[in-house]
């Protein structure tokens, strides 16, 4: 039961940072599978059914640019941050760092009080 609750909260936590992770990774061009592989190798296990619709949504919002490129056997769509995406990423990184600092301070305070 405790594990179920932990899994649910973990999922919500990861969902929140997913956009940040994807935008950060797409500072370099990637196609869908290569992005997923990179995120997996970095320790962020994300399933296909979540990542690919997210990429599409970010592209529709204008945060990503996409381009079809010829690979060995077929064309592949490569995604990369747009100028707007770059600005949003900077804001998100600042926000993330502030949150991290706040949380760190909170955890240290509660650790000392115990």
């Amino acid at each position: 039961m405790a594990n179920d609750k932990f899994d649910k909260i973990k999922l919500e936590l990861r969902r929140g940072i997913l956009v940040l992770a994807v935008l950060q990774s797409l500072q370099q061009p990637h196609y869908g599978y290569s992005l997923r592989k990179q995120l997996n190798e970095a320790g962020l296990d994300i399933d296909e059914g979540t990542l690919y619709p997210l990429i599409r949504r970010l592209a529709e919002q204008g945060l990503l640019e996409s381009e079809w490129q010829q690979a060995e056997q077929r064309k592949r769509r490569y995604y990369q941050l747009s100028d707007e995406g770059r600005s949003v990423l900077q804001l998100l990184i600042t926000e993330w760092q502030q949150l991290n600092t706040t949380l760190q301070a909170l955890m240290e305070t509660s650790h000392e009080s115990h």
Binding site: G32, Y33, E48, G49, Y52, P53, R56, R74, K75, R76
Partner: protein, 311 residues
């Protein structure tokens, strides 16, 4: 590869037409890249099936790629379900009345025919009500709802449960008003049944004279209830308005209860109840409404007094 074609084709079925091609292109690109990474690009059918299962069912994937707007927002769902319940109750009541009048206008009565007609009419009217309510909620959701247009200082004092007006009470009063309006103007929406009567059943002229005045009264009461949806708690101003409306109701319904006849039945009408009994029943109902509003006057007068004491 056949499985992938079938999968994309199935996803397109749940995707809006304008986005079908772009979703299919996106999906094919990702799927083919994933397949390339499986067993050096030569996966078995089981491996491809496993990959597709991880992507999700065609319906799920279509919803994630191109979410369809919901006619009713999740936060509106309790209100929507409540309104729907009352609309279905009104449909039931009206169908019952319509079926009863059809029976008394006909020359013979067959229970099976009555039940089958009732079921068909109830489904017909219920579906109509369902469609209207859903359309109204959908139309209201088209307009962005301003969440900050409320004033914390206008909230009622805590600790007075009677000052809160439940959503259920508001909606039931609106439903009651609509039901009364529909009964008053039955000849407008139920002409096919009326023509079948051959003038067997008519509203008495004395009551018919009051129809417009009564309708205005009911419409004002409905408008007040709709206003309550925005501020669902009793304030001094609202209580004064309510007292005024209730006083008019008492006078009007008290007078109507004193009339001698409400419905005139022709000789062709075949009745289960005697005309006198039906008129007595209507008189009793009208008197009951007058008494209920008299009780409401006492209740609201006391509430107004309590509010004045606390300020």
């Amino acid at each position: 590869m056949n499985l992938i074609d079938r999968y994309i084709f199935a996803v397109q079925q749940y995707t809006p037409a304008a986005q079908q091609q772009s979703v299919a292109d996106d999906l094919r690109d990702h799927l083919e890249n994933e397949v390339d990474a499986l067993s050096d690009g030569q996966p078995t059918e089981q491996e491809v099936a496993g990959l597709l299962r991880r992507f999700g069912s065609p319906e799920q994937v279509a919803q994630r790629y191109a979410p369809r707007p919901q006619p009713v927002k999740p936060e509106q769902m309790p209100k929507y379900m409540l309104v729907l319940r009352y609309v279905i109750a009104i449909a039931f009541g009206l169908t019952l009345i319509k079926s009863y009048f059809t029976v008394i206008a006909s020359e013979s009565f067959h229970l099976s025919q009555f039940i089958s007609q009732f079921i068909v009419r109830f489904i017909d009217l219920g579906l109509f009500g369902f469609a209207v309510v859903t359309l109204i909620f959908w139309a209201l959701n088209l307009r962005p709802q301003p969440q900050d247009q409320w004033d914390p200082q206008s909230l009622p004092e805590a600790g007075r449960p009677w000052q809160r007006i439940s959503l259920s009470d508001i909606v039931s009063d609106i439903a009651e008003g609509i039901f009364i309006l529909l009964l008053l103007w039955y000849n407008v929406w139920g002409p096919e049944v009326l023509s079948a009567y051959n003038d067997s059943v008519m509203i008495a002229p004395a009551l018919a004279d009051w129809r417009i005045g009564l309708s205005v009264l009911v419409v004002v009461a409905i408008a007040k209830q709709i206003w309550l949806l925005r501020t669902p708690y009793w304030t001094a101003r609202l209580l004064r308005i309510n007292l005024f409306i209730s006083a008019i109701y008492v006078v009007v319904f008290g007078y109507l209860a004193s009339l001698s006849e409400f419905i005139i039945f022709g000789s062709q009408a075949t009745l289960w109840l005697s005309p006198d009994w039906i008129n007595q029943l209507i008189r009793g109902l009208l008197a009951l409404v007058a008494v209920i509003y008299l009780v409401k006057i006492v209740r609201d007068g006391r509430r107004l007094w309590l509010l004045r004491q606390s300020t």
